[in-house]
Amino acid sequence: MSDFSVSRRTMLRGMGTAMALPWLESMAGSQVATSSALAAAPGGPPTRLAFLFVPNGVHAPHWRPSGTGSDWVPSPLLEPLQQVRQHVSVLSGLAHHNAKALGDGPGDHARSAACFLTGAHPYKTAGTDISVGVSADQIAARHLEGQTRFASLELGCEGGRQSGDCDSGYACAYSTNISWHSSRTPNAKETNPRLLFERLFEVGPGRETMAARAERMRTRKSILDYVRSDARRLDAQLGRGDRQRLEEYFESVRQLEQRIELVETMEQDPSQLTSFERPEGVPGDFREHLDLMSELMVLAFKLDMTRVSSFMWSNEGSNRSYPFLDVPEGHHQLSHHKGDVNMIEKIRRIDQFHVERFARFVERLAAEPEGDGTLLDNSMIVFGSAIGDGNRHNHDDLPILLAGGGGGTLQPGRHIAYEPNTPLCNLYTSLLDRMDVPIDDFGDSTGRLANL
């Protein structure tokens, strides 16, 4: 590394500019040297990693494209990818073994969401001792911690579910989260675009000056110091069975402290960095909601506020209706079509809508210039579900799309057919390599995916 390179932090302090800045060429030298041959070239823009999740699988017979390599012919459901096909690879043959019952009986929806990013088999419980595994996004986030203001961002369009168990004796936490901070702590997701905006740009609900905000953050730091020493005293009095929740609390305190330290380097009002208007709240229309959240993710990536994000478009097993597609029935209800032609037609509309929205997201990333290319060139966007066919609840032959150039490490634009039952976790290890995260294996991975 050159002696002249400056760390982001030093530069930000020295130049009195904002922490939330688009990635700039001038900082290229400060990038951490890469150890992996696969990782993006040193000095290039950072690589971003995102996971987009859709529930209830897809109608599999309409999913798989014909032909492989770059000459693939879109299936009906993949038709909307046409305009962005050079940016997207269709990966077929991938499977999540740990989403299967493995002796635990019914509950494929809960298992699939819980397994989607963790690759782990969730412990079956309605609410006692929930446990699955740390998710791939969090492994990346932990590795990158401190380099961006947010180690990761978790987004969603549906909150938690409020009644009943969510699926056949599985606690709702399993179906309503894909990002797991620890094996027993799911990362709550932000579903309100206004709150996400306020969080990204550190603006309170009212109008707060930079000075007032700095003052508030200083007080927060004192309070965090106090709370930590006070909680230690409490911890000393706690029984051995009670420590877990408190440890979780300490971990959250630690993360918050780190955030505040990073925010302190901001000397410019971050809300001035974008002409993006503060959203009003949760739009009633799912399309608007989805687009707004997606747009905020693009913004967070563009301004290098985070490099890792996950986005649950709906909770697993969601019975959302799609009135704008003329589908008043619920998604989950329709996915169990049992061969009914009308229901399959409606499922087609839903699946196709999701793919079309994904294509739109890809286009947005491709429209943001960065370095010599675009933001998309430096991104790796996984779209998919951990249920293959919604009617069958299988966990092999999963619908998985991969968009972006991964900083020149991916060759998108192809249909890549892997051997049946290739672990989806092999994709995750391959992507973590490209994020320069040292990892030997993950979930049920057996290696890396060749030919990405």
């Binding site: 509950g107 709702c172 709150l195 029984g239 609390y249 008043p328």
Partner: protein
């Protein structure tokens, strides 16, 4: 080793088990991994699952399978009775109070607690990540995680509470209402553009503000002008149509200005307008920048009253400063008042000491006691002592009683979903919660209080699985009258019924058998009931013969168990089993071979014939034979709880037969079937126990559940149930991890 007394109680198993069951489940056979002979002879609570499964199988009469020799009804009854007896003995052996780990306040409890303590409303539903449910309830300790995002939200909320709960020179407690451009009313030629109202000629923008009392208010607005001519843009303030000050607006688009005037205003609805009074247009002016004067308004706000600082109710209850007292001394006295309430326990000197040190460090030596208290409030609200309900660990012993304040806390969150009030705290402090009569007095007081509606709002809606009713989207084309508001009215009907049984201490059976219902006008419309002219917000209707009594006729439940476009007898049947009888059926294995083809392909078939396809296959019959008849009986109601027309009903056969041969007809027949079924008592008792304890039940709780059921059979009142739960060891004690020293 069994005690001799137990051995006597353990009478020999009825021979019917050997006759009918052992062929598959004995003598070396263990179909379905059940070796019944070993379970029956072993008689230990380690086989609890097998015993419970046996009880269920016998209850449903679904073993032995069809085609095999089956016991007579008398034999079945003997087997059931014997199994019940054995379970009672084993359950007593296994009984233990259990333990709950530190429980985070859930979102509902958080909001209620803040409201009780500080009188501040935090919109948790929109601001915090949603809680998920475990064991069917959002009170379950294990799923109430504390991810980093949530702590951040707690910080935001704590700062807001600290700010709002204290009025001083920093926050005089003015109401401050700001209306952005797009929400402003306009008069004349005014056009909305991005972020502004644009006024190219004389015109006005304004808004109506609701002011709490008369006084001086500051009116401010953000504006700029396209300046031209010899005057700046001028805006005149107009209050309720009367002209007031004219304000010069010299600012331009590159740097908009903020302008304000303080005026004496009345209370109530006040119409505030800004009139652009000096339009100017000289199209022939040689300088194109001097031809046109226009105004742009970004926002309009009113704040005040500015002539007095009125303390909040929270503040008024604090100890007042003594003349000459230092800020630190006053702060400490205030902390002694506030901290024990917020942390739900008596405090120690060190608590006050460390907090006052924090305030000094954060606020500086010159700060006022109130400014310091703000920092302390923020700190105490993000502390684990507030956010988590921590209970002391049994010291050595395997299980110990909770402290008085821990018990008060459990009682209060169980019945009110909020923190103990001063009376309950006093009862904890003076030891009166240590006596049964002291506890009973407090429980009755809590239940008499309107705040006990929390039990209906949060326990009943989750137990009955209507908590997420508001997220349902019944097909608007089929059911145009059903929107979010009506769904809310539906939920309220069920809440009102449950609340009445609690408040008026009625029988739990009334939930199934109530002969009247309390609903609002929208729901009455939906039910096609005539709304009396003199009715208030809600009205009590007697239930006529066309509707089912009790919750089985509630639109909330009938809608929650339907798909958006149609009813689902399967879901309704499943609901009856799961919710009312605590006897859930497993969902179908995915992609069952031979599952009836598309229901749509059988559109020529009646629903009952359609569902008959479910039971044609033995693999499906075991569960659908139980579920479908229950749901079919409710088919006289449509997917949003409306009564189907006579024509629609004419084609329906609502007669149903359960496995075992019991027959009934229609929703009322079903209701008759459920009335007096002890399984319903078990269901409400077990579910309420889970809600109250914040954990799932195990076989260690079975003895308590059986006792609750037998108590309810004698005295089926809601209060008796609540009282028995509070009086249980499970509620009052805590077991050490792994059962203590062992």
């Amino acid at each position: 080793m069994l005690s001799p007394i137990l051995a006597i109680m353990l009478t020999a198993a009825p021979p019917a088990f050997e006759t009918y069951c052992f062929e598959c489940h004995g003598d070396g056979m263990s179909k379905g991994r059940l070796a019944l002979d070993e379970v029956l002879s072993g008689r230990t609570h380690h086989d609890a699952d097998a015993w419970i499964a046996l009880r269920s199988r016998l209850r449903h009469r679904d073993m032995p399978p069809e085609g095999e020799p089956r016991p007579t009804e008398a034999e079945y009854e003997r087997m059931e009775a014997w199994i019940a007896e054995q379970i009672t003995v084993l359950a007593n052996q296994a009984a233990s109070p259990g333990r709950v780990e530190p429980r985070r306040l859930n979102n509902v409890e958080y909001a209620e607690t803040i409201e009780s303590l500080f009188g501040v409303t935090i919109d948790v539903m929109n601001r915090f990540p949603a809680d998920t449910a475990g064991e069917g309830f959002d009170t379950t300790a294990d799923v109430l995680a504390m991810p980093p995002l949530l702590l951040e939200k707690y910080f935001d909320a704590a700062e807001e509470v600290a700010w709002q709960s204290i009025h001083d020179e920093d926050n005089p407690g003015w109401i401050e209402r700001r209306v952005e451009a797009k929400a402003l009313n306009t008069k004349g030629r005014v056009s909305r553009r991005r972020g502004i109202q644009w006024m190219p000629s004389r015109g006005a923008v304004g808004a109506v503000f609701d002011l709490p009392r008369p006084g001086m208010y500051r009116i401010s607005f953000g504006a700029y002008g396209q300046q031209a001519g010899d005057q700046p843009v001028r805006m005149q303030m107009r209050i309720d149509g009367t002209s007031h000050d004219v304000v010069d607006v010299p600012a331009t688009q590159s740097e908009p200005g903020i302008y304000e005037r303080t005026l004496d205003l009345n209370a109530g609805q006040v119409d505030v307008e800004l009139v652009f009074v000096n339009d100017y247009y000289q199209p022939q002016h040689p300088d194109p920048n001097e031809r046109d004067r226009n105004a742009a308004v970004q926002w309009l706000a009113v704040s005040g009253p500015t002539d007095a600082v009125e303390p909040t109710a929270f503040q008024a209850a604090l100890p007042a400063p003594v003349a000459g007292e230092s800020a630190d001394s006053h702060l400490r006295r205030m902390l002694e008042h506030v901290l024990p309430r917020v942390w739900r326990r008596p405090i120690e000197e060190v608590d006050v000491q460390s907090m006052s040190a924090l305030a000094l460090e954060a606020c500086g030596p010159q700060s006022s006691s109130m400014a310091r208290l703000r920092t302390c409030i923020t700190a105490m609200l993000v502390s684990p002592s507030f956010l988590l309900r921590i209970e002391q660990e049994p010291d050595g012993a395997s299980a110990t009683h909770l402290t008085d304040h821990e018990l008060a806390t459990r009682m209060s969150y169980f019945l009110w979903s909020t923190t103990p009030d001063d009376q309950l705290r006093a009862a904890a402090s003076d030891g009166s919660l240590r006596t049964a009569s002291g506890r009973r007095a407090q429980i009755n007081r809590l239940l008499d209080d309107p705040r006990s509606i929390a039990l209906a709002r949060h326990f009943a809606t989750q137990w009955l699985q209507i908590r997420s009713l508001g997220e349902r989207t019944p097909d608007p084309r089929r059911f145009p009258d059903v929107g979010p508001e009506l769904l809310r009215s539906m939920e309220n009907e069920t809440v009102a019924l449950f609340d009445m049984t609690v408040r008026e201490d009625r029988s739990v059976w009334e939930l199934l058998d109530s002969q009247y219902t309390v609903i609002d006008e929208a729901l009455a419309d939906h039910y096609a009931l005539e709304w009396p002219e003199d009715a208030q917000e809600t009205h009590r209707f007697a239930i006529d013969a066309s509707r089912s009594r009790g919750i089985m006729g509630h639109a909330s439940i009938l809608t929650a168990t339907s798909n958006p476009t149609r009813t689902s007898p399967v879901k309704r049947g499943k609901w009856v089993l799961e919710v009312l009888l605590d006897d859930p059926v497993p969902p179908p294995p995915p992609d069952v071979e031979g599952l009836p083809k598309a229901e749509g392909e059988h559109s020529d078939l009646g629903l009952q014939e359609l569902l008959a396809l479910h039971t044609a296959d033995p693999a499906c019959r075991a569960c659908h034979g139980r579920m479908d008849p229950l749901g079919l009986a409710m088919e006289s109601f449509d997917a949003v709880g409306g009564i189907r027309s006579a024509e629609e009903q004419a084609g329906m056969d609502l007669k149903a037969t359960l496995p075992g041969g019991r027959t009934f007809e229609g929703s009322q027949g079903l209701q008759q079937l459920l009335i007096d079924d002890p399984a319903f008592l078990r269901s409400i008792a077990r579910h309420m126990l889970v809600y109250a304890l914040g954990r799932g039940t195990t076989f260690a709780d079975e003895a308590l559940i059986l006792r609750l059921v037998s108590t309810l059979q004698e005295d089926p009142t809601m209060r008796r149930l609540i009282l028995e739960i509070v009086e249980s060891n499970a509620f009052q004690m805590r077991t050490a991890p792994d059962g203590g020293g062992s």
